[in-house]
Amino acid sequence: MNQPPDDDSAQPTPLGDSAFVALLTECQLPLRLYISALLPGDPAAGDVIQQANAKIWEKRGDFEAGTNFKAWTMAVARFEVLNHRKRQARDSRLRFSDELEETIATELAEVNDDLAERQAALRECMQSLKPASRDLLMRRYASQQSLAEFADQLGRSVGGIKVTLHRLRTSLGDCIQRRLAATGDRQ
């Protein structure tokens, strides 16, 4: 009888339900980062993230335990981004070239993310801002409005808001870098 070689070393182990959910949960921020990077400024990115999660769940049986989960979820997510584009075919939204997308996809899948550390640093850095600035940032990021609508609501000019937000982000970014560097020194 001709049988394919029986290679016991490659035996896959089924991944349990809770293990899968734990992996998927851990992956949420990287996944969102990835999809937002491929759909910059697209308000529908949130829907695509949702869609990607549903798809990942649906395809959970295809995931091979022991292989790179993040890379796998991103491959599924990439497909959802493409599907989204197809649905939006008539939308004249600007999009990156395939070449750049490929680079971003590769880099983000490989990047060793320290998002949790950054999040902790950001929390502390937020405390160093003036309450009014903190409030403005939180309101901006909690709102689904366009920048113009947001500025309108605050009774400020779009240009003015842009500059303020830009400064705040820059100083937060610098603060995060300093904190991470300080933590790094201590270790």
Binding site: M1, P4, P5, D7, A10, Q11, P12, P14, D17, F20, V21, L24, T25, R32, L33, G41, P43, Q50, Q51, N53, A54, W57, E58, K59, R60, G61, D62, E64, A71, A75, V76, R78, F79, L82, L94, F96, S97, L100, T103, E107, L108, L115, A116, E117, R118, Q119, L122, R123, L137, M138, R139, R140, Y141, A142, L165, H166, R169, L172, G173, I176
Partner: protein, 553 residues
Amino acid sequence: MTPNEQATLLDALLDGDISEADFLRLEAELIVDPEVRKTYYRRLEMDLLLAELASEGQRPSPDHSAAATDQRSGRLRRWAGVVVAIAAALVFIVAMLHSAADREIAERDNENPPAQIRSENEPSATGFAVLSGQTDAVWEGDPIDNGGLLPQGELHLVSGLVHVELFSGVQMVIRGDAVFSIDSPMQVSMQRGSARAHVPEPAQGFRLKTGAGEVIDLGTEFAVEVDEMRSSVKVVDGEVELRPSDSGTRRLRVGEGVELAANGTVTRESADDISLVGPAAFQDALARRQSSHFRQWQLATEMLRNDPRLMAHYLVDPDQGWSRQLVNRASSAGRVNGTVIAGDGAVVAATRTQDRWGRDGGALDFSRMGSRVRVVVPGEHRGLTLMCWVKINSLDRWYNSLFLTDGHEEREPHWQIMNDGRMFFSVKPPNMDDWTQAERERQVFYSPPFWDPSMSGQWTMLATVYDVDQQLVTHSVNGEPISRQSIPEKLLVEQIKIGSASICNWSEPMYRSDATFVVRNLNGSVDEFALFSGALSATEILNLYHVGNPNER
């Protein structure tokens, strides 16, 4: 471009109001300069993290400081929950999306076109929750199977009880008559019906909206009852925040409840107990019912042994995880008409996995390439019935094998599933050499498509009957016939033979000169397989389903 200019353009890009010229400039920089890309990723991260923080601030979290110290908790774990057993499988999507070099698994079949990559009409599923159990549930529209995703939009549970698990980890028992929608993993809207929600710590802030107001969970369990006239809320454990549409926010603690009129005014400062079991008790009850059903099934399979038509009946014994032998449970004792039975099966490469009753090691997972069970079925048979309980992960090959004889010689049957979800059954008629192509193709009896990816991971009973006397091929899914086709006189094979065969794979595709072979193993699991000589009736098939269905209600 100065760093500042760069940052300004990135802001514009992410705000969605960048001009085309600036976009192209920025893109050019991103392509050539890894540092600019890094800046881009950092900027995106900041957006994400700020959005996280902002949404936390919106939640009425009672222990915000605790959440702040535990950096990995909170929303990072929102997607916890959801229970369904999973078998490992091959990474088809990854193979599909990555370079051609990775596509080693793709099918190479000389006699058939290559497997299509169906990106054009890629099926998709949406939803934020899985249906994990139901009793006497009647849905408006199509029934929803256990383990299936609950679709978005308004759902109407006409009667019965269901257990829903949201991707956030929230568990809900909902009783019909109920009209509700799952808006997100953190929000459910309910127009009418009773519900009891258990909210784990990572999902605190979960909201249940009714016409009269919102209930925001601060942990852990509450119940609501909603109809056109009023809504009542009762806290079973922990604490909730109530936001009536008419008045201010208030907190309700364990045992407390409130009744609201439809317009949101408080009509009573208390609420009667809402008689609805919690998710944990509901699952216990399901498990108890299932275990009694399991015993009935075991009894029924014992009785089946002596059916004189039964040639092979393979069940996977969870207590014999080490064994590569699959005992044929058909008994040769008391055979009057001399029907011979098959030998024991030999398990090759397939691994043990959970069966449909939830027992570890009670099923075989065939997703690993080369996996199969080898069997030998002697004799000649006037008609044939094949039945199996299968859990399909995906149909990612052109042909997905259920039961194939080693070659495809005259009078031999082939049973498989096409990649578009159709069941395939054929018995090769003799003397086909001088037939036209059109005539040859008629020997295959296809069912309509019965499988789509939304059924991934669900246990399904498949059966096919080749009835010589009635000249009929019937395909059934979960006991119900999905197609009946008559066998043309010219194609009718009165004496079927099998000989050496494989369950869930094919042995033929080895090419003589090299080790390349067609991939035809099923990406899925099987926990029961039966072969009968002759035709079982539709009623008999339906009975096999009822007695073997773990979700029987």
